[in-house]
Amino acid sequence: MATVDKSKVPWWVSNLIVPLVNLTLALFVSGLFIFIAGENPYEAVRLIIYGSFGYIEGFAYTLYYTTNFIFTGLAFAVAFHCRLFNIGGEGQAYIGGLGVFLVAINFSFLPVPIVWLLAVGGAVVFGAAWAFIPAYLQATRGSHVVITTIMFNFIAASLMVFLLVDVIRDTSQMGPHTVALPEEQWFPSFEDLAALFGIKIRYSPLNISFLLAIAASFFVWFLVWKTRWGYEMRAVGHNTQAAIYAGISPYKNIIIAMCISGGLAGLLGVNEILGVHHKIVAGFPAGYGFTGIAVALMGRNHPIGIFPAAFLFGILYQGGSEVTFDMPNITRYMFVAVQGVIILFSGALENLFRPQIENFFVNRLNLKAKA
């Protein structure tokens, strides 16, 4: 097979056409699943689109999921630029949530906007701290972060269950969750904002954390491509030997990249605690940390790619639940399978058709140039 001269491939081919082809294939295969399950794939697609766009609350739900995926996707991407596979977004988000809650409840005497700022800081610090330990072990002992961060997910889950059952549980209730935060600290939700304009809508979990997610995207873009830190992280990630030669410390950058990654994952806690539950509920990260990996890979670890990827997964989450309501043969797990197929095609099989597609366009452009 002829190798393609990478420099001749237009950016829109590798960054738009290839992902779109992969996505189309994934949806086609998913359609087959639905067909085999005995339902009409067209009808399923119609329901997904209706569920995620068709009415205002549905769309709000889509954006709420998108918010979470942006946080965890960005978290994975930052570490990945330093070639660190941070699988621990789930645990870092969980501990980040603890940070949000502890700060908000202990500083409730301060003005609300300041509490919010501190709570966001708490999320970042707690998430970063949870990522710091695997980072330190990787940097000094060479313990692989994939292994340690996975283990830290379990440790985080156990720790949180212990805290929620024995230490910070709301003793007036039976469930493993804390007391609610004072209502004035809750993030304004989408319905609150709509009400300001006199529009009445029903409940949705969407809140101003969505804006925080957009701000975080800008932050990551700036960090990775516009600062010395990002530059050094990328140097270590791409060529550690060269980094050492240039006097860039791999040790320092592994720790910085992981801590920033953990901090971003921690922000998921802001959305869930300040925006939605207003208290810590056992298991609130609900797999967003893992899905974030797929979001980042699909978005090619760039904020501009992560946003649409997060949005796509938001559509699948929201539209998927719509389908499971209406189609008795399609279970919740069916949509986990659909996500799996998308991850498979846009992650693991990403290069399946890339050479052919790139070749096709390069040849066409060459022909055009000749003509």
Binding site: K6, K226, T227, A235, N239, Y245, A246, G247
Partner: protein, 506 residues
């Protein structure tokens, strides 16, 4: 009556635009020990890899026992009786000798009859050739010398009539070399043909009956070993091509700017690679360090530039101690003190090839003004600096936004050179500045180095290209086996003298 067992005709092989083998003709006679000698990068290993089917030649024919054959993979070579012992052994560490040898030739799903037969055959082979190997020992328990024997046994078991050994003594102790040579002689007496690739003259004289010399991808001579001597071979090896003498102004040296005292350095495997080296470089002087690759130059450069820890000894810059075994400055601190380093391997160390050109043009200086201010990169200044510097050093294409791996080798090297020279360093360490670089760029790079010297920089030039060392240096030292084995003013020195020093003959 000697009959040729292996004949190569008009073999050509190139990698990208580097031609590793040019019109090679070679005839190897049955029952001989045939040496192939040449400097590193002369194309010996490439040629033998083609014979073993690892690479495919771009053109040319290969005949075994007079019959033309088509080699597409090592399997084809094995069928035709060609075996190869690589420089780096191809053994599964946690398997036994027996398991390694039958690997790929098990012949049955559940071990039984075949295994017993293999055991018996191998025992016979061991006895015939006095290999003395215990088939049941695990590879990881064996010394390097024994592992090599396992490789030889593996080839013999697979029916090798021609046995190619690629730099077999590089990893052995002198005693192990003696043992190996004994084995090779006994193999030869039993009628096997042996091809020995080496850059050590002494081995050729010791062992071979015929010898072929390669230089820069070409075959430059064939002779019977008894009709030649070390000096003649060294001469053929390094070539007498007219040296490209550069216009160099009169030497005007200043004070000693860079001094190395009794330096010892170990590599990652804890092997001592630099042994008690002393060097002095004055301002305005180029000190050439000649030597065959792998004699400690890499580790020396890494230690001098702060990448590798100093085991013992001291390094002085500008009269002040910068490194010893206790305290050493890191590469960034050394840069600030005026030491620049063009590393030997540009892709492994000098560049991040996935970065854009402008990102590599500030690599290592990215934290300095005006490139960054309070940790934020100043893209406007970086780009305008890059454009300026790319024009000054004629880096083509002049597009700072292009990914570095898309530049040719010569232009990648210019990117590094421009970055390091632009800082006007007091001391410049240069490793293999023109390796894999086209001729036009070589001249340009040489001129720039001379300019730096005339400006008063102290330059250490490490190169395996003798011509380069001879044409640039004011003084030359030769490194062999981690030690400085000779020092010459570059006035009346000949490439022959240096060649002998490099080969560790004198």
């Amino acid at each position: 009556m000697v009959s040729p067992i292996l004949e190569l005709a008009n073999i050509n092989k190139s990698f990208g635009h580097v031609q590793a083998n040019k019109n090679i003709n070679l005839t190897i006679n049955k029952g001989t020990i045939h040496g192939i000698i040449g400097e590193n990068g002369a194309g010996k290993s490439t040629l033998m890899s083609i014979v073993f089917g690892l690479y495919q030649a771009n053109s040319g024919t290969i005949k075994v026992n007079g019959k033309e054959i088509n080699l597409r993979s090592p399997k084809d070579s094995i069928i035709n009786g060609i075996g190869m012992v690589h420089q780096h052994f191809m053994l599964v560490e946690n398997f036994t000798v027996l398991e390694n040898i039958i690997l790929g030739f098990e012949g049955e799903l559940v071990f039984g009859k075949n295994l017993e037969k293999a055991k018996k055959d191998l025992k016979n082979l061991c006895d015939t050739y006095k290999l003395n190997i215990d088939l049941n020992s695990t590879i990881s328990d064996l010394s390097v010398g024994f592992r090599q024997r396992v490789e030889i046994l593996k080839s013999l078991y697979r029916g090798a009539e021609i046995l190619i050994l690629d730099e077999p003594t590089g990893v052995l102790t002198p005693q192990e070399v003696d043992e190996l040579f004994k084995i090779l002689r006994s193999l030869n007496e039993e009628g096997k043909t042996i091809v020995l690739i080496t850059h050590k003259l002494i081995e050729i004289m010791d062992l071979t009956s015929e010898v072929s010399v390669m230089r820069q991808g070409e075959m430059v001579g064939h002779t019977k070993t008894k009709d030649t001597n070390k000096e003649k071979l060294a001469e053929m090896m390094v070539g007498r091509s007219v040296l490209l003498r550069l216009d160099k102004s009169e030497l005007k040296t200043g004070d000693v700017v860079f001094k190395v005292e009794d330096l010892t350095v170990k590599d990652d495997l804890d092997v001592t690679r630099v042994k008690n080296v002393n060097l002095e470089i004055r301002a305005g002087e180029i000190l050439g360090l000649a030597g065959v690759t792998g004699n400690g130059q890499t580790e020396l450069l890494e230690a001098l530039s702060g990448i590798r820890k100093v085991e013992s000894g001291e390094i002085y810059l500008d009269g002040k101690k910068v490194s010893d075994s206790q305290n050493f400055l890191d590469p960034r601190e050394l840069k600030e003190k005026g030491l620049a380093h063009v590393p030997e391997d540009r892709q492994r160390m000098g560049l991040v090839t996935d970065f854009k050109a402008y990102e590599n043009l500030i690599f290592g200086y990215h934290d300095q003004q005006p490139f960054s201010k309070s940790s934020i990169l100043n893209h406007k200044d970086i780009i305008s600096h890059s454009k300026k510097i790319m024009e000054e050093y004629d880096v083509r294409p002049q597009s700072p936004n292009l990914i570095t791996s898309n530049f040719s080798g010569g232009n990648q090297q210019k990117i590094i050179l421009s970055r390091e020279l632009n800082e006007k360093p007091k001391v410049l360490l240069v490793g293999q500045p023109t390796r894999g670089v086209d001729i036009g760029a070589i001249e340009f790079i040489h001129q720039r180095l001379i300019e730096m010297r005339d400006r008063g920089a102290a330059i250490l030039l490490v190169s395996v290209e003798l011509d380069e060392v001879l044409s640039l240096s004011d003084r030359i030292v030769v490194m062999f086996d981690g030690k400085i084995v000779g020092e010459k003013e570059n006035k009346n020195v000949t490439d022959r003298e240096l060649g002998l020093l490099m080969a560790g003959v004198v």
